[in-house]
């Protein structure tokens, strides 16, 4: 599948802007349970993505995903670099020839499996996977009002990390004390999903 370069550009720009604008919030969340660098790391990564935007926007979509992923791997500086980088690169690799819901769902599932392997983690450990996995279920179901259900799923899933005890990542050092705070990686996943949906909904209205 290949997106129109104009749409591809909008999507990359929107995701990067969203993450960069929320850097302080992500730092604050990470200060509560980790080492406080998630927001700055993600900002640095997506600033690098924007530097290459002119080039990436016109790439075939599979290649664009890989390029975004590689920029994050190289520039983020924390574990979220390889984790988000792997998500984007694996998604790019698995994208279907035709843009069908089943094909995109399969690609997203493959990307999530790659993140699980990279992070040696799964749902319930208070990580980005606690947003991505429920989201993949809603995506596969499809049906009417899908964008708004995806949006709601991402928000509910990020909020659901608040009472969880972290068992992976720096937050796991805190044990019980990680309970009561939203996972910063779950929040950044929610933000990215919302940015993508906003662009797609605008396109649909236009």
């Amino acid at each position: 599948m290949t997106l129109e370069p104009a749409l591809q550009r909008k999507l990359i720009q929107a995701v990067a802007d969203q993450v960069i604008q929320h850097a302080d919030e992500l730092v604050a969340l990470d200060q509560a349970v980790g080492d406080g660098d998630h927001g700055l790391n993600m900002k640095r990564g997506f600033e690098a993505v924007l530097v290459d935007l002119d080039k990436t926007a016109v790439l075939p979509t599979t290649e664009a995903f890989k390029a975004v992923g590689m920029a994050l791997v190289m520039k983020v500086g924390g574990a979220s670099g390889p984790l988000y980088g792997t998500l984007f690169m694996a998604m790019g690799k698995a994208l279907p020839e035709q843009a069908t819901l089943a094909g995109i769902s399969d690609a997203f599932a493959a990307a999530i499996d790659a993140v699980k392997a990279r992070g040696k983690s799964d749902v319930g450990a208070k990580t980005m996977l606690d947003v991505l996995v429920p989201l993949s279920v809603v995506l596969r179901e499809g049906g009417p009002g899908l964008p708004s259900r995806l949006r709601a799923s991402a928000s509910a899933a990020a909020a659901a990390t608040v009472p969880m005890k972290a068992t992976r990542g720096r937050a796991s050092f805190l044990g019980e004390r990680s309970i009561g705070h939203m996972d910063p990686g779950a929040r950044s996943s929610e933000l990215i999903v919302h940015a993508i949906l906003e662009v797609l909904e605008q396109e649909e209205r236009a």
Partner: protein, 130 residues
């Protein structure tokens, strides 16, 4: 090129990485290829996949390279760096599950005796069990 296993030290802090490397160097002299890196791309605490790849290549030995890391992100970034290496090098680099300073000194000492990569890794990782 040395026949001994190379050692790479990866810390979020360049000061920690350099300090640990100094300690290894004092123990083993120039018998072991040794490189270190620390700090995020562009500075600040963190680790850089690119810098880790450069360090692996700098400490490269046909016997392989053992990496010592401090905290989670250093491990994940090191695993990512290994995957981005050329195929023929990828399988001769390991990340040790060991404390960075003590692990580096133990691994360096074992490497200087000419031990194979698996022994070097095991020696560093024995610190975990102790």
């Amino acid at each position: 090129m040395s026949k001994n296993v190379g050692i790479v030290i990866v810390s979020h802090s360049p000061d920690v990485a350099k300090g640990a490397a100094d300690m290894v160097r004092q123990m083993v002299g120039d018998d072991v290829p040794l490189a270190w890196c620390g700090g995020a791309p562009g500075g600040g605490l963190g680790t850089s996949v690119e810098a880790i790849m450069t360090a692996i290549n700098a400490a490269w030995s046909e016997a392989g390279v053992a990496i010592l890391v401090d905290l989670g992100g250093a491990e994940t970034n090191s695993e990512m760096a290994i995957e981005l290496l050329p195929e023929e090098r990828r399988h001769r680099v390991v990340v040790c599950d060991a404390p960075v300073v003590e692990g580096a000194v133990m691994a360096g000492t074992e490497a200087s005796a000419g031990s194979p990569l698996e022994h070097v890794r095991r020696t560093a990782e024995e610190l975990r069990a102790a």
